[in-house]
Chain length 175, copies 2
DNA sequence: TCAAGTTATATACCTTGTTATAAATATGAG
DNA sequence: CTCATATTTATAACAAGGTATATAACTTGA
């Protein structure tokens, strides 16, 4: 009864990926301890990471980088701004553009996230993706099963957290 | 600039899968000609397919089968009911339960979808998933690229549509 | 130079998922 | 039998994505 979607082949892959992504995000939120999260919505994390990596960016650049529609990015910026994690300054060359940058508070938060939630999420998700086999559809099915049977949080027990920058560096070498 | 998410490793996989799913669904909507769609929201398609395959079901059974929270299913049922595609009848054994079944109009609609949108979606999505390689993360990245470079619709040109039931039967054999 | 078009951001509204909870019904223990 | 608890569906409120469009600022061409 539970696996009805699997009988619908590739036609339902869109629905399945969407919900798989939502479940990953939900479980990712559970990974952070209270200290590292402090009420930050999950989708803000990639935005902060991009800002940290690529310095100040315009709303449009952020949207393109995140491959996301601009109004959603604007909304996240408002949220982050209300928490004093980012600040916007008008571009002197072109006053339509506002440059988004991390505040000092934002940088401090990013530092904490780099030591806790981000590597935890990376390592847990990598672990759940290990050894998938078969067609992409099969792999998605395996992921669905794994995610409901052993949540991300349980995959971190007894694992040492790497530091975020080291993780990414290492990954870029392997690739 | 465009591939910023790829530099974030597994940590951003949730966001990426969610948006990849959304884009697949959006492009799937473009596949149907006006006749086969008639204003049916994309997420209703799996629901109709399950109802067609497994006969009348309760709301709870549908939610479990679709691996989705119950209130979302209730909302879709209301929508489909307003279009006369499904009907609900109270279960004689347990009056809390209402059994959801396709109406004659619903069956006719399903018949049309089986001959057009569903196989089109299945074949197009299968084609875009062909020959992916590398880690799951790599495969997702390849899918993102392919989807933005050649949309699902363009993958159907000159391809004969199979019938839905034959497609699924064939797939279950291959597997 | 200024009118017309283009671009960047913000806003409004919609969609579709979620949780929490209420209301109706069923079940089971005493 | 009755009351406490379970279960089923519906409703309300929220989250985070989307499209369409308005507004302000820039650019270009006659």
């Amino acid at each position: 009864m539970e696996d009805g979607l699997k009988t619908l082949g590739y036609a339902a892959l869109g629905s399945r990926l969407k919900r798989l992504g939502e479940k990953l995000q939900a479980q990712t939120a559970d990974l952070g301890d209270a200290a590292s999260q402090e009420g930050l919505p999950v989708p803000c994390n990639p935005l902060l990471a991009i800002l940290d990596k690529r310095g100040p960016l315009s709303v449009g650049d952020l949207a393109r980088t995140l491959q996301q529609a601009q109004p959603g990015v604007t909304r996240m910026i408002h949220h982050l701004k209300s928490q004093n994690l980012v600040a916007t300054t008008p571009d002197p060359q072109d006053r339509r553009i506002s440059r988004i940058a991390l505040t000092d508070e934002g940088k401090a938060r990013v530092k904490r996230l780099k030591e806790s939630l981000w590597p935890a999420a990376d390592q847990a998700v990598q672990s759940i993706c290990e050894g998938l086999s078969g067609s992409f559809l099969d792999q998605v099915a395996q992921l669905e099963t794994r995610l409901s049977q052993s949540p991300l949080k349980s995959r971190l027990e007894g694992i040492a957290l790497a530091d975020w920058d080291q993780l990414l560096e290492q990954r870029s070498k392997t690739q």
